[in-house]
């Protein structure tokens, strides 16, 4: 059992409240999994800037003087510390150089996610503590996903928490368990993907990244996942401008969605949605098994 939530805003006036709305949804799901929690927030990208969210088990040591260390790779780099995480912003043209320097100078630091707009925060502990530790409630954005974990397939660690990000501005949360993840991981490694954990959900994230790298859009990648992934899953997936949901054909893992003129929302249970504005009049439905749902800000515009 795990709890997953997602929120894709259509109404720009709600964007400043994204972090607060998503935090409320996730905290209500605490009793579905108290091991660890995480949230990915897609904020407004700034032209020509890249974001890298990083994490350290020893932030006091690892983050000390980090900005100065990274300056040689990009003079404009900034580092914002948030508890065990930090958000590095750099000129997009120098982002790769910043990452190389980071890996060389501070090898203990882990990259949680990177891209133009995504920031990813995850830690062991209860959702309420995780969202307050990182100040998620104060964050705005266009869409976001969250997860509270009851671990089954790998250890309860920060890296084993969701969301998993395996590509720029991509992330995935998963409720369920995959049975062919070891085989699939070997195939993906052969294709050049790298893995941080033994976790099954990371394999699903990497699979989607690999499929999208071949030119598929999120919807097409989710459709292939139905053929290639074996096991139980309800996935909620984010990309820079998109938001997708898919359930396996058996569809044991719960899911409920709501749509109004203002948003599209996902929850493991209806409880997660009850505080959303206008939920009384929303279209509320259970996503069909083996059916891909996805929305895109760019395609809608």
């Amino acid at each position: 059992m795990c709890g997953i939530v997602g929120l894709f805003l259509k109404d720009k006036s709600l964007e400043p409240k994204l972090g607060a709305m998503l935090s409320d949804m996730l905290v209500i799901m605490t009793d579905r999994g108290p091991d660890s929690a995480g949230i990915a927030i897609y904020g407004a990208p700034s032209e020509g800037r890249a974001k890298i969210t990083v994490q350290s088990a020893r932030p006091g040591t690892d983050f000390a003087g980090l900005e100065a260390i990274l300056k040689p790779a990009d003079a404009s780099v900034t580092v914002e510390l948030k508890s065990t995480h930090a958000v590095i912003e750099a000129d997009a043209a120098h982002a790769a150089a910043v990452r190389d320097l980071l890996a060389a100078e501070r090898p203990e630091i882990r990259v949680m996610g990177s891209g133009d707009s995504v920031e990813i925060y995850k830690e062991v502990g209860l959702p309420k503590d995780v969202v307050s530790r990182f100040g998620i409630r104060e964050m705005g954005g266009t869409h976001g996903i969250g997860h509270t974990r009851m671990a089954t397939e790998s250890a309860v660690t920060t890296l084993g928490a969701h969301p998993f990000s395996t590509g720029a501005d991509q992330c995935l949360v998963h409720n369920g368990s995959l049975s062919n993840h070891n085989n699939l991981r070997r195939e993906l490694v052969r294709e050049g993907m790298t893995f941080e954990t033994q976790n099954d959900s990371e394999v699903a994230a990497a699979y989607l990244t690999a499929e999208m790298a071949k030119g598929k859009d999120l919807g097409q990648a989710l459709t292939s996942a139905l053929d290639d992934l074996d096991g139980f899953f309800t996935f909620v997936v984010g990309t820079k401008s998109g938001f997708g949901v898919v359930r396996d054909p058996i569809a044991c893992k719960p899911a409920v969605m709501a749509e109004t003129d203002q948003y599209i929302a996902f929850g493991s249970e209806y409880r997660a949605l009850v505080n959303l504005p206008g939920i009384e009049d929303a279209r509320v439905w259970e996503p069909e098994p083996a059916t891909v749902y996805f929305w895109d800000h760019e395609k809608a515009a």
Binding site: C252, P254, E269, Y270, R271, V274, V284, W285, E286, E288
Partner: protein
């Protein structure tokens, strides 16, 4: 109009607001009704997707739930009349023994699972595994039902005014299934069967009980067990 009677019945309605009181208070009140007591009308407001609302009723109470509920609402109901003025999460009325449960909206997966008696009416759609392992319950769904419904159903009736999803009645025993719309596919050992007069009579009774007046029993097709899985077939020995 006799206002005094109306006021009396209103006063007798006990209201539980789940936004301000724990679920335990509602359920223990429902579990502590002496046989023959007359303060048996309950109203539940602000359920907000709560789990296990009104489970374990064992007296002829009425419960009106104003809003949507989560897992296992009205589970094990034995004699109560529960109406959810909203939608229900997974496992609504699971293992019902007797009484009536009405869902005004939709129901999530495994509605009425393992139910032994009583009537479950779902006015919207029901998701997957509706009536799984049903053992005597009657279920009437106004809309559609999802895949694997009535899986291993042993007895009772499942009446669907809309369509049924994949693998209807897989490994079915003696539950009787009636579908008015399309069946996407039948599960192993489930076949269409003749709708005989006794079935039409039963359908008419169930539709009437569910308050459906504009649908004729003859509009349904009946599905049941081919009874091929009841005994081991020696010709299949090679498969093991």
């Amino acid at each position: 109009m006799d206002l005094s009677v109306k006021r009396e019945s209103l006063e007798a309605m006990r209201v539980f607001d789940l936004a301000t009181m724990p679920l335990r208070e509602l359920n223990s009140a429902l579990h502590n009704i002496a046989p023959g007591a007359n303060d048996t009308n309950f109203e539940v407001v602000n359920p907000r997707g709560s789990h296990s609302v009104a489970v374990g009723i064992d007296q002829p109470v009425t419960v009106e739930v104003r809003g949507s509920v989560g897992y296992y609402c009205a589970g094990m109901n034995d004699g109560g009349a529960v109406t959810v003025h909203g939608s229900a999460g997974p496992g609504v009325a699971e293992n019902m023994m007797s009484g009536t449960v009405v869902i005004e909206g939709d129901a999530s997966q495994y509605a009425g699972a393992t139910g032994r008696g009583g009537l479950l009416v779902i006015k919207g759609n029901a998701a997957s595994r509706c009536g799984i392992s049903m053992k005597g319950i009657d279920i009437v769904v106004h809309g559609n039902i999802g895949h694997m419904s009535a899986f291993m159903g042993q007895s009772g009736h499942l009446v669907v005014l809309g369509d049924a999803g994949d693998a209807l009645g897989d490994s079915l025993y003696e539950a009787k299934l009636f579908v008015r719309g399309e069946v996407k596919s039948l599960g192993a050992d489930c076949i269409e069967k003749e709708l005989r007069s006794e079935h039409i009579e039963k359908l008419a009774e169930l539709l009437a009980k569910a308050g459906i007046t504009d649908v004729k029993p003859t509009e349904f097709k009946r599905y049941g067990s081919a009874r091929k899985l009841y005994n081991f077939n020696i010709d299949n020995a090679d498969a093991y």
